[in-house]
């Protein structure tokens, strides 16, 4: 969805300003609803992550990452036991981004590096 300059946030055409009116078609409506309900679908379809060899790639979740998402959704607290470099941070960042976008009146707290990662993912959203 491209945005006109006066409707964009801080001149970034990829980010929409608050309160901008949009005419949602049936497809867009369905898509938004689906993303709102399913964080896994949202992450798979819209999030991009930086791969060390390939650069910017789609965020294709591993089964254990899906499991993490489900656990985050169903429980108030989650403890994850996982090896290093397994993508747990980026998964939690993706979930937090989904949470920030689709859950109103919520405050998120995270470490600075995670917030930076989150910002990078957010900028890449269509």
């Amino acid at each position: 969805m491209s945005i006109q300059t006066n409707d964009s946030y801080l001149g970034n055409p990829n980010v929409k300003r608050d309160g901008v009116e949009h005419r949602f078609t049936a497809e867009e409506f369905e898509e938004y609803n689906r993303c709102m309900v399913d964080p896994k679908y949202f992450a798979r379809k819209y999030l991009k992550v930086i791969h060390l060899d390939k650069g910017l790639v789609d965020f294709d979740l591993y089964p254990y990452q899906e499991k993490m998402f489900d656990h985050f959704n169903d429980n108030r607290f989650s403890i994850v036991l996982a090896c290093r470099q397994s993508g747990k941070s980026i998964s939690s960042v993706a979930y937090l981004l989904w949470y920030a976008l689709f859950k109103p009146y919520k405050q998120l707290q995270s470490w600075r590096t995670r917030v930076q990662q989150l910002g990078r993912c957010w900028v890449g959203l269509p």
Binding site: D18, V20, E21, A26, M36, K48, F102, R120
Partner: protein, 139 residues
């Protein structure tokens, strides 16, 4: 860390921010009329040129003032037709503009919801909340 410029380049490749300009298709009648009148004007000019040569020859041979008068009138007519041929382009442009106005850019006809994303989100949340569950109290 991947530098910002590289990342933004990849993003702009994947997520084009610019919309392709909408191609305006001219009404078939307008196009047909335009083509027809253009052909006619060109035909008149071609035929007029032949007639002009003949008239010039006649005028120079006869050296009659009336012949020169007719020749000058013909020259004027030819110049007018050339002008009209150019005007045709102008008129076509005006018609194209009108067609463009009729189709505003980016307007979607089948809107399901009009409002900000916040409004949409609020509506969807309300919809999900307002699911009524009937409880059977007979048991």
């Amino acid at each position: 860390m991947v530098d910002k410029k590289k990342m933004m380049e990849s993003l702009s490749k994947n997520l084009p921010a610019e919309k392709k300009p909408q191609q305006v298709v001219l009404n078939k009648d307008i196009k047909d009329d335009y083509d027809y009148s253009r052909d006619k004007y060109k035909g008149i000019l071609d035929r007029g040129e032949e007639a002009l040569d003949g008239m010039m020859q006649l005028a120079s041979e006869s050296e009659h003032p009336r012949a020169y008068e007719v020749l000058s009138g013909m020259l004027k007519n030819m110049a007018d037709v050339t002008d009209k041929l150019m005007d045709l382009q102008k008129k076509k442009k005006e018609l194209t503009k009108e067609e463009e106005k009729q189709i505003p850019p980016g307007l979607t006809q089948n809107n399901v919801f009009v409002g900000s994303t916040t409004d949409l989100q609020r509506m969807l949340l309300d919809n999900n909340k307002s699911e009524v569950i009937d409880v059977n109290t007979d048991k």
